[in-house]
Amino acid sequence: MTTFLRVFFVGGVIAFRGLFNWIRPAIYIPTMLGSPLFQLIFFTKLGQYAQAESTDFYVVGNSVQVCAMAAVYGMTMAISNERQMQTLGPLLASPANRAAVFLGRGVPVLANGLLVSAFTFAAGAVLLGFHPGLDAVPPLIVIVLVTVASCTCFGMLLGSVGLRAKDVFFASNLAYFLMLLLCGVNIPLDVLPGWMSAIGRCLPLTHGIAAAREVAAGASFADVGGLVATEAGIAAAYGAAGFLLFRFFERESRRSAVLDVY
């Protein structure tokens, strides 16, 4: 158990530092803080111009959604970049518990997603007058945590595909943009056609955003327990699918000797 935890935490942090060694303030601040901030302003102003929903609707939707940037892209890179950096072979040759290796990579990504969401919520409060009340803050933190976990698990699935696919970033970019459309970030689900909202309900974010909006509007955590549980269930489903796919591609890559090969 100690070894599992060491690989999970220490291995996860070391892998993050190694795979994301290019992250410096000059890159992190414009990409992870600047871009979400302007996304928030863009969609809020667009909503105001279209006379669609309230400002709070866009602040909550986008502040929760931006965690996907950190979680989906981050987790995709945390797995698939091992192949790009030619370190996948040594990693898979080690006897380390695969679940610890796989899940440990999600911890720094999850922390980063929380930070990005928290920053965007704070920007919404300062710039756009979003004031949910102090009572709403603890449940919002829990909801964002579950939602980031869900997006991280979705990123694990995409990252696992990256063990074999030639261009996984096309898929992760596409997924990120589709989340803006399908997950109720800027458009209420009942406005979308049935098939679109049905897809949205199977994706991460959707239930988390709905729960966050209700809490921001004054509901208690108990009132949104079902939505949060659904989001957690979606996280578990994507996490399990990602892990199974990771093991499958590992075995197949060894069998057909295409590990590290593009």
Binding site: Y49, A52, N173, L178, L181
Partner: protein, 256 residues
């Protein structure tokens, strides 16, 4: 004549390179269509009437800007990675002239975005494509694309010195969409942002395209597109010269 041949050859080559990149197809076609769809549904659910063609044009221009931004930001960096930047700098033409066709091709690829959002809007949402001034629209579109290409050239020149080009490109996508009022009026923004809008070719470009499509005076904004484009062209040749000299003096040209 040599300059024209250089521009044509560079334009064609970069167009082919961009055409094989899945990232640019995503930026120039898929992303604008998704953003256009988001905008359509936001307008549909809102109280503002008659705005779907407005959204189509705006989402298309968003794609033109994104493609120009990422491609212009990336072209210096990619050449650095491929080891061809020094060869370009060492060649007889000025660096600005050398990269002008690349930047124009980037903006031209962005035109796919406008075509994609207009066709998508027509087929899926039944957005009417009746243009109030088709001739002026046909003039405004290439003028806007060329002006954006020249603006991209200024950005590209700064990336000769600034090695975190991708981060800057990530940052600049939304602010230009916002300040140019591509899908909403800039009157929603604070008054201090107006001068920022005025110096951006996409601001005048979308105004010209929107008026050509929906009605209104096109010549005023079209003139401003040309003026802004020419100004960016002049600035880019100056900045390329200065930044190239600095990069060579500091021996940082090929450092990644």
């Amino acid at each position: 004549m040599n300059a024209l041949r250089l521009i044509w050859a560079g334009f064609r080559m970069n167009l082919k390179m961009l055409g094989t990149s899945s990232f640019f197809m995503l930026t120039a076609v898929v992303q604008p269509v998704i953003f256009a769809t988001v905008a359509y549904y936001m307008f549909r659910s809102g109280g503002r009437a008659g705005t779907l063609l407005y959204a189509s044009l705006g989402a298309g221009m968003m794609g033109v800007w994104s493609t120009t931004l990422f491609a212009s930001g990336g072209m210096i960096q990619w050449q650095r990675w491929q080891g061809t930047l020094e060869l370009g700098v060492a060649s007889p033409p000025t660096m600005g002239l050398l990269y002008l066709p690349f930047s124009l091709a980037n903006a031209f690829t962005g035109m796919y975005a406008l075509a994609a959002t207009l066709v998508w809007g027509r087929l899926v949402f039944g957005v009417p494509l009746r243009l109030a001034h088709p001739f002026q629209f046909a003039l405004a579109l290439p003028a806007t694309v060329i002006a954006l290409g020249l603006m991209g050239l200024v950005l590209a020149s700064t990336f000769v010195l600034y090695r975190n080009a991708n981060a800057l490109a990530n940052l600049l996508e939304y602010p230009v969409w916002i300040a140019s009022g591509l899908v909403f009026s800039t009157s929603l923004l604070p008054a201090w942002t107006r001068p920022i809008s005025w110096i951006l070719p996409p601001y005048w470009g979308i105004l010209a395209l929107r008026r050509a499509a929906l009605g209104g005076d096109v010549w005023g904004p079209l003139t401003m597109v040309l003026v802004a484009g020419a100004a960016y062209g002049v600035v880019s040749f100056f900045t390329f010269r200065v930044f190239e000299h600095r990069a060579r003096a500091r021996a940082t040209l090929s450092l990644t």
